[in-house]
């Protein structure tokens, strides 16, 4: 990856200031995405990966707040933008797709309304040309008879079709970056495969960069160029997809990979990571994974710094696997 990346997140911290205390949902996370590149952002539920996505779009609601860090997008530090300027980027240059397609489309508005408003929020175009762009976007995500579909309501669509519509809405303004928050988790496997294929194709064709947020490493394996692993709101390690999946350095990444069922180990009990993810509310300093880690030592009560064991590879651990 040479030159300036499209998006560079640097030391991002996003905390929720609740009555019970400060929840460090995102705590010192850094990664970058090049133009047209696909980054897999991996972690368990509650690891802060979705909140990282929302932070990039400026969709954090009080009591949540970005307290530190930079989000450089094409030369602009998003964290310094006011609400109106951030809104102008949202849905226009950075789009987002959500996890549950049954919930993301507004049930009481027609599909055309929901696509046209996305076009007209960013471009001063007539309704006719907005409809033309909506139709084009539906065709691109593989929806047949778009004219008929435009006049339908979300409840007349299946889950997979709704997710295609959501993707079409994300694509309609030709964004530079799409943040996809587990968009295939709620779909069955065959539909998941189709959606993955469409997304990959569309992004390659249009040179759109993609951040694919997921807990599913098997999806990442076939999709991403780079992978960034998060745990308990913190950056764990990053590298190319081959590096992370074949030679994980952090004990947590290794644990995640070992938890994936494999054909070669049929009949053997699945390995799992012992223990539970810690509550972000009571999380002290030090490596958050040490309680569950087999390699942990007394040193781990201190927070390890991010190191670069090899070019393009970043890690936060005192005891990397060999």
């Amino acid at each position: 990856m040479s030159g300036d990346p499209l998006l560079r997140v640097e030391g991002l911290r996003m905390h929720f200031f609740t009555k019970a205390g400060v929840v460090k949902a995102v705590d010192d996370v850094s990664f970058s995405v090049g133009r047209g590149e696909i980054l897999g952002l991996v972690g368990e539920s509650g690891s802060g990966k979705s909140m990282t996505g929302y932070s990039i779009l400026g969709l954090i609601d009080p009591p949540g707040r970005i307290v530190d860090g930079r989000i450089d997008f094409d030369g602009i530090d998003l964290t310094r933008l006011d609400a109106a300027a951030w809104r102008a980027i949202r849905g226009n240059r950075i789009a987002m797709i959500f996890q549950d397609p049954m919930m993301t489309l507004n049930p009481v508005l027609r599909i055309d309304t929901q696509i046209i408003e996305a076009v007209q929020a960013h471009a001063d175009v007539s309704r006719e040309s907005a409809i033309a762009r909506a139709r084009e976007a539906l065709v691109r995500v593989g929806i047949a008879s778009p004219d008929e579909r435009l006049r339908a309501y979300p409840h007349q669509f299946s889950g997979g079709m709704r997710q295609r519509v959501a993707i079409a809405i994300a694509l309609v303004n030709g964004p530079d970056l799409i943040i996809a928050d587990e968009p295939t988790t709620a779909l069955d496997v065959t539909i998941q495969g189709q959606i993955l294929f469409e997304m990959q194709k569309v992004c390659r064709e249009s040179g759109t960069a993609l951040i694919w947020i997921t807990h599913d490493l098997s999806v990442i394996a076939g999709l991403a160029d780079e992978v960034c692993v998060m745990y308990a709101g913190r950056f764990v390690e990053s590298g190319t997809v081959a590096d992370i999946l074949d030679r994980p350095l952090h004990p947590y990444s290794r644990g995640l990979i070992d938890s994936v069922p494999s054909r070669n180990e049929r009949g053997r009990p699945l390995r799992q990571i012992p223990g539970m993810t810690p509550s972000l509310l009571s999380l002290g300093p030090g490596c958050p994974f040490r309680e569950r880690c087999t390699s942990a030592s007394p040193r781990c009560v201190e927070s390890p710094d991010v190191t670069e064991p090899s070019p393009g590879r970043r890690l936060r651990c005192f005891h990397p696997s060999a």
């Binding site: 809104r87 949202r90 789009a95 489309l105 507004n106 027609r110 408003e117």
Partner: protein
């Protein structure tokens, strides 16, 4: 849609017949109106003659049968007291009540939904908390007390607003209306606010609860992720979803405002059906009571029908008659 309307009409007819029977049983049990209608010095012969003239000498079921036969031809009986058809007595007074109810509902809707939205979007702000505190007052203060205080303040002490009657009216299509004249509006102001207060509080709470739930939904986040303005996210995406329960409640409450404007009408001497009902109950004027209740039931049925139609317009998942096409 036609099949739906016909089925709905059949149900409504059944409800009306059942309702009329229950009301008939009810008023029959209250007491003998002849005691109140006939001169106390009258002798037994006079009494019997009066009873026969009113048809009260017949058996209960026979009386009901006579009533049903009359009702089928649009005759709900004659008022014992005024000796005019009960229905025309009520229809005479109904415009005043409906006007009062509508103005009250307009006030409640025009203030309640925006205030509820503010309270729902900013639940922890001073404004949001203030609105909720106000709505608790609106809920808990009794209508008659608020009415009396309004009269005390605005009529007695400040002398700004008249305390009784409809004021000057304009007749439009044979119906006298107050809200088209300045004097009428002044007369309307206090009773309408008094009647609106409870509904206003209800709408504030309902809108707030709906808003708080809706803003957490993914479709709201997705709408924001599209880069829509806050105005469009709230005004279209949130509002259209929360309107569904709000329309139901407005419909039901409109019926109840018309039916139970009694207290407000009594306090402000508003010449509507509420006052007529109270007078009729005091004088045991059975036909008027029965006719009033039947008119109110018909109104409720009609309003519910309108609400169902509005539903299908607001929520595409609801299609009347169950003929949703895929």
């Amino acid at each position: 849609m036609l099949a739906y309307a016909i089925r709905r009409f059949g149900q409504s007819f059944f409800v009306l017949v059942l309702m009329s029977f229950l009301v008939f049983v009810g008023v029959y049990a209250i007491g003998n109106p002849v005691e109140l209608l006939v001169n106390p010095q009258a002798d037994d012969a006079e009494r019997i003659r009066a009873t026969a003239a009113l048809g009260l000498d017949k058996a209960f079921l026979e009386q009901y049968w006579v009533f049903l036969k009359g009702a089928a031809s649009g005759d709900l009986g004659r008022s014992f007291v005024y000796n005019v058809p009960a229905l025309s007595l009520i229809l005479d007074k109904l415009p005043a009540t409906i006007e009062l109810a509508f103005v009250a509902m307009v006030i409640a809707i025009a203030l309640g939904i925006p205030l509820g939205l503010v309270a729902g979007l900013k639940p922890d702000s001073i404004l949001g908390r203030g609105i909720m505190a106000g709505s608790i007052l609106g809920f808990s203060l009794p209508t008659f007390w608020v009415g009396l205080v309004l009269i005390m303040v605005f009529s007695v002490q400040l002398g700004w607003l008249p305390s009784n009657g409809r004021g000057e009216t304009v007749t439009v299509a044979g119906v006298p209306l107050s809200f088209l004249t300045a004097d009428g509006l002044l007369h309307l102001a206090m009773p309408a606010v008094n009647l609106a207060l409870f509904k206003l509080s209800l709408l504030i709470r309902l809108t707030r609860a709906g808003t708080r739930e809706a803003v957490l939904q993914d479709y709201v986040k997705f709408a924001r992720a599209k880069g829509l303005t806050q105005g469009r996210v709230i005004g279209v995406h949130v509002l259209k979803n929360i309107l569904i329960p709000i329309v139901t409640v407005i419909g039901l409450e409109l019926g109840s405002v018309i039916a139970f404007a009694i207290v407000t009408e009594s306090i402000f001497a508003w010449p509507g059906t509420g006052k007529l009902l109270i007078d009729s109950i005091n004088q045991l004027d059975r036909p008027v009571i029965v006719a009033y209740l039947l008119v109110i039931v018909t109104l409720f049925i009609f309003i519910n029908f309108v609400v169902d139609v509005l539903y299908s317009m607001l929520d595409p998942r609801v299609r009347l008659g169950g003929a949703a096409s895929h």
